[in-house]
Amino acid sequence: MANSQGMAVETVTGEPGVRGALPQYRTRSMLGITLRRLARSYSALWGLCMVCGLILIAVLADLIAPYGSAQIVSGGGSLDLPTWTHPMGLDVLGRDVFSRVLYSSRIAIYVGIVSIILSLLPGIPLGIVAGFYGGLLDKLIMAVMDVILAFPIFLLAIVIMVILEPSTTNVVIALGIVRIPIYARVVRSSVLSVKEYEYIEAVRALALSRWRVLFHHVLPNCMAPIIITSTLSVSTSILIESSLSFLGLGTQPPTPSWGWDLKANLVFIDTNPWIVVFPGLAIFLTTLAFNMLGDGLRDALDPRLKR
């Protein structure tokens, strides 16, 4: 932003009295700046709309879906091609694929969001402690994290599903555990860089308690990478959950899931390819939405891009 002399003016937190000032001097919060930057990217806005649409579908599935997810359509029929009454066709048991696709969005959103929360809760404190205190504690925590990271994510998820019985809840637990090191690392590197800032020294010199330093000053600076990682992690969670369900190791019937439907309908691909295409398309569009949003957030939150 530039003022009338063409000088770059960046916003800074100000007092309430600034509200009456000229637009270029007005107070803008970090949230405001981020949202404005986000709004400049078409793909990010698209992503945001798609994500909101997806959440709406998941919440309102009962109202939108014409049939139940396990309901066998009266009037018979099996592996029917798409028609006006059944826009996505019928599967081999005679269930409406459109309704199943809509209901499966619930599993996707549930897995995506809850697994992130499960990773955040231990991951953030671990990262903060490791970064802030350093020394032996840091090395110990990072060693444990590295052991978990030494396994490919998908393999680790499979291993956990072998030990626990396959079910949606266990998929969430598996994904949660697998992601803890990622958050710990991200938070730790943010904390390490923030620790060096002089204002942290100043705050500590003011003899504020450690907790206050951590939560009110260090943590807000870590928010950006956490938000970006979380958004992109939702899409990988959904991909991994559908891969696991595709292999039969994730969500079990009768709970509808895109991955499971994909596998179940794959056998009949010569008869009716559409019932395979639509669940897969749903996974694709969901992942795309979160990726676009995540990319947009990454650009919006990047402190280097001072626009």
Binding site: S43, V147, A150, F151, P152, I153, F154, L155, I158, V159, M161, V162, I163, S235, L239, S242, S243, F246, L247, G248, L249, L262, L266, I269, D270, P273, V276, V277, G280, L281, I283, F284, T287, L288, N291, M292, D295
Partner: protein, 318 residues
């Protein structure tokens, strides 16, 4: 360079030990007591104790682990309940197939990503650039098994250009082998390709802003060489790093792709074992995949030293 490699090789030993211990511990965590399963209704405490002693299950965990590790080293990876064959035999025969799939996918991904990234970086914000970045984003978001299914639908079922399923060993026919592996490799490689294209573009854009590139141009070096020889070499360093990190995802993705295309590799081996509760197979599968991952990381680390001379000199200076 030599010290760097030796150091990395030495680090391999504790890593492999940690992995084997984790796999061993994991197998012990699986619910269900094998002695119970064996005796079933005729469970008798005395007989159970005898059996436990015979199988060595009453010894401390570390002793059991040492014995198990010893057997592994000798090639005794257990007997599969499903196939009644030694697990090691199956693992050894299926490993090259999965390796071929993974290597082909990575090669395809790099072959497309590097040129595309270079062209995008040299013509930023043009139609090609926007197009390439859009395709890259779509590739990242596409689940690999769905892409495989779509390719299969198009090329095998509809057009009939490529075979539907199965596998032909390299020794039988190179062309047939490649025909069977092409679709799986493309399906597996495309997501990695998307990530790598974006990375090549971003790194190259950054590198081309550096002073030494301007110097090269001022010296009169051809633009083609400036980009592809001088700038690209440095831009490839983060690319190789990320490509190495992607191998883990490739290994995971291979498991699913093999299921889609019926490739008789380690993936189908492992999944069958898991679904049929054949724990010896599962154990062999997890072990070999984890080891594969560790070895590939090691190779990437070593190649990283080759590409980035700073790493070699850092080690020397120490």
């Amino acid at each position: 360079m030599k010290e760097y490699i030796v150091k990395k090789l030495l680090l391999l030993i504790p890593t492999v030990l940690a992995i084997t211990f984790l796999v061993f511990a994991m197998m012990r965590f699986i619910p269900g007591d094998p002695i119970h399963l064996l005796l079933g209704d005729m469970y008798d405490q005395r007989q159970a104790d005898e059996l436990r002693h015979a199988y060595g299950l009453d010894q401390p965990l570390l002793v059991q682990y040492a014995g198990w590790l010893g057997r592994l080293a000798q090639g005794d990876w257990g007997q599969s309940v499903l196939t009644s064959r030694p697990v090691f035999q199956d693992v050894v025969s299926r490993l090259p197939i999965s390796l071929e799939l993974i290597v082909l996918s990575m090669l395809l991904a790099l072959l497309i990503a590097i040129p595309a990234g270079v062209i995008s970086a040299t013509r930023p914000y043009t139609v090609f650039d926007h197009g390439a970045m859009t395709v890259a984003l779509l590739g990242i978001s596409m689940p690999d098994f769905f892409l495989g299914i779509l390719l299969f639908l198009l090329f095998s079922l509809t057009l009939g250009w490529l075979p539907v399923q199965g596998y032909v060993p390299l020794s039988t026919s190179l062309v047939d082998n490649l025909r069977h592996m092409l679709l799986p490799a493309v399906a597996l490689g495309m997501a990695r390709c998307g990530i790598l294209t974006r990375l090549v573009r971003a790194s190259l854009l950054e590198v081309m802003r550096l002073d030494y590139v301007t110097t090269a141009r001022a010296k009169g070096v051809m633009e083609f060489l400036v980009v592809n020889k001088h700038a690209l070499k440095n831009a490839l360093i983060p690319t190789i790093t990320v490509a190495g990190l992607q191998i883990g995802f490739l290994i995971g993705g291979a498991i699913v792709i093999e299921a889609v295309f019926g490739v008789p590799g380690l993936g189908t081996f492992g999944v069958q074992g898991i679904l049929k509760r054949d724990y010896q197979q599962v154990q062999g599968f997890i072990l070999i995949v984890a080891l594969l991952f560790v070895v590939s990381n090691l190779l990437v680390d070593i190649s990283y030293a080759y590409f980035d001379p700073r790493i070699r000199y850092e080690e020397k200076a120490k």
